[in-house]
């Protein structure tokens, strides 16, 4: 148990030390990563990219019905 705790502590200190002593460019790119992830997941995904089938239909049967209709309705003059 003690050795596991020691291992976890070492990993924590490894990352802590790494982030604390990060270079100029490292800090800049981490800021960019965080802004980018916020825009992607908190804005784009929430407001612009809902999962169409999950949002519109309650279950897989309804979803498959919708897709089947799409497949059948996209036919040519044969209809």
């Amino acid at each position: 148990m003690k050795s596991v705790f020691s291992f976890v502590t070492r990993i924590f200190l490894f990352y802590y030390d790494g982030f604390s002593n990060m270079s100029w460019w490292g800090k800049r790119v981490w800021i960019i990563i965080l802004i980018k992830l916020f825009i992607m997941f908190a804005i784009l995904k929430v407001f612009f990219f809902p999962d169409f089938l999950s949002k519109k239909y309650d279950n897989d049967t309804q979803r498959s019905e919708y897709v089947m209709d799409q497949l059948l309705n996209s036919s040519n003059e044969h209809d």
Binding site: F14, Y15, D17, G18, F19, S23, W25, G26, R28, V29, W30, I32, I33, K36, L37, I39, M40, L44, K45, F48, F49, P50, D51, F52, L53, S54, D60, R63, S64, E65, Y66, V67, M68, Q70, L71, L72, N73, S74, S75, N76, E77, H78, D79
Partner: protein
């Protein structure tokens, strides 16, 4: 009716996907190649113990880190788009996309994320060999991540290893290994990663050339050029070889794309390979489509037949043969494929009706038919043709396919020349005297990016009108949502990715000007 599909919506959805894919691909290939170059440099450091090699490794690792960080997660947007803009497609592909993308996500997250931390934070904290192993694992992990998304893309070009389930309206994977070792996937993976190696080598060569032009960091620049030129030359030759094997595979599984990128309309034996040419509209037509003629062309006689079948007697199919059919060569006409696709569609409609009245016996009979190999091979494989309005709709945009292919190939040969010259001048110790070459190397940095994007344009535009070859047309796959929302996100992405790109370039230029730390 296909005429009812809102083309504005389809076009904007395609433009949005193309924009995000093109920008995503600006970040990925450098990661694929530079990771291996760094691993090679660090291996030399560990074997020689010379601090200069460590300094050199850390410098290129900095540029790798900037590119990796700016580009990371840009591919997730493509997955957002699958769920929103291409929902019918996402449902239809079923677990064939899900499984490779899940493996890709796990690999990317655990392998890359863990060992990248060791790469950047681990200097002087872990042993030299453990650090080196981490660097190699990052390189291998990054390239393995690419494998899975390329397997998914290859399935769109050549759908194999699955069966369509009419109950769920989804394709279900029945043979994982057939999907993984799809010939298109093997060719695509090797061609794509080797193009990434080439791009990274040109990146290292160009920046090192800049140091020599500025009379700075000569030791670092020459050692970097040595590694980049050897790795780059090897990669450029591998790109040429895998490009050749890819073309052979395309001739079998996507013959219309193959004929389009050679602008070959009439099938023939002893077909020549066009090295360069310029197209114009002719008065002849296939249906309502104008046939393209050459204003001029430079051709190697018989070489296309040799490339395709190993000898000049090989008959190579032209676009007219593939659209109108050629019974002598065993080619079905598109109209016949449309009839077969319609038959498969009628069975699906029949299945739907049987389900609505709960006719279990008929449902089971139809399910059996959808599982029958003869039905799959002779009818269901043409399911997508049921959505074509006219046979000529099966022809992709010939000028786009032709120019993107030929420009890519010309650039490929240029890269071989640049790497070979770099090695030649380096071994003669005359690099610094040939300043014109250093300028060419510097200004060649964007060219592999252009070649890579052209490759993707060819792969995706050459597949049109299909999103999944022969099974699903793009018009069928798109979600019927407000085109205004797609336009808005298109603009948002254009702004966001442009900002990211310029940020990356500015941080990189700053670090390059600073140079390696002493």
């Amino acid at each position: 009716m296909i005429e009812n599909v809102d083309l504005t919506l389809v076009d904007w959805s395609r433009a949005q996907f193309a924009l995000t894919a093109i920008y995503h691909w600006l970040f990925v290939p450098l990661t694929l190649g530079l990771s291996f170059l760094i691993a090679i440099m660090e291996t030399i450091y560990v074997r020689t113990g010379r601090e200069e090699w460590k300094r050199l490794t850390r410098f290129w690792m900095t540029l790798f880190g900037i590119n990796f960080a700016i580009g990371v997660a840009t591919g997730i947007i493509l997955e957002f788009e699958f769920g929103t803009n291409w929902s019918s497609y996402s449902w239809f592909v079923g677990d064939i996309f899900g499984a490779p993308l899940a493996i890709e996500g796990i690999l990317a997250f655990f392998l890359e994320s863990t060992f990248i931390a060791v790469m950047f934070f681990g200097w002087n904290k872990v042993g030299k060999k453990f650090h080196l192993a981490s660097t190699w694992l990052v390189a291998v992990g990054a390239n393995l991540s690419a494998l899975w998304i390329l397997v998914a893309n290859a399935w769109m070009q050549n759908p194999v290893g699955m069966i369509f389930n009419p109950e769920t309206a989804r394709n279900e994977m029945i043979n994982f290994w057939e999907v993984l070792f799809n010939p298109v996937a093997v060719d695509k993976f090797l061609h794509t990663i080797s193009s990434g190696f080439l791009l990274a080598s040109m990146f290292v060569l160009g920046i090192s050339a800049w140091y020599l032009l500025k009379k700075r960091e000569e030791w670092l620049a020459k050692r970097s050029i040595l590694i980049a030129a050897i790795f780059g030359l090897f990669s450029a030759l591998l790109v040429a070889y895998t490009g050749d094997t890819s073309a052979r595979t395309l001739a079998k599984v996507q013959p219309v794309k193959f004929a389009a990128f050679e602008a070959l309309y009439d099938g023939k034996e002893d077909a020549g390979l066009v090295m360069a040419g310029f197209l114009k509209d002719s008065d002849n037509r296939i249906g309502q489509n104008n046939i393209k003629d050459f204003v001029f062309r430079i051709e190697i006689p018989g070489f296309l037949s040799v490339m395709t079948g190993g000898n000049r007697d090989t008959w190579v199919a032209g676009i007219k043969d593939l659209v109108n059919g050629n019974p002598e060569q065993g080619l079905l006409a598109v109209r016949e494929k449309m009839e077969r696709g319609n038959l498969a569609k009628d069975l699906l409609l029949d299945y739907k009706r049987a389900r609505s009245v709960n006719d279990t016996k008929h449902i089971e009979t139809l399910k059996e038919i959808f599982r029958d190999k003869d039905f799959i091979d002779s009818y269901f494989r043409y399911f997508g043709y049921a959505s074509l309005g006219r046979p000529e709709d099966a022809i992709p945009n010939v000028p786009i396919a032709f120019y993107s292919f030929h420009l890519m190939v010309i650039l490929g040969f240029f890269f071989i020349l640049v790497f070979a010259l770099a090695l030649y001048y380096l071994f003669r110790d005359s690099l610094t005297r040939h300043r014109w070459f250093l300028w060419i190397a510097l200004f060649s940095i964007p060219l592999p990016y252009i070649a890579g994007e052209l490759g993707w344009v060819l792969a995706e535009m050459g597949r049109q009108p299909w999103i999944i070859q022969d099974l699903m047309a793009v018009n069928t796959a798109v979600t019927q949502i407000d085109p205004g929302a797609v336009k808005t996100t298109f603009i948002l992405f254009a702004v966001m990715f442009t900002v990211l790109l310029f940020t990356e370039i500015s941080i990189m230029i700053r670090q390059i000007k600073i140079g390696p730390k002493h």
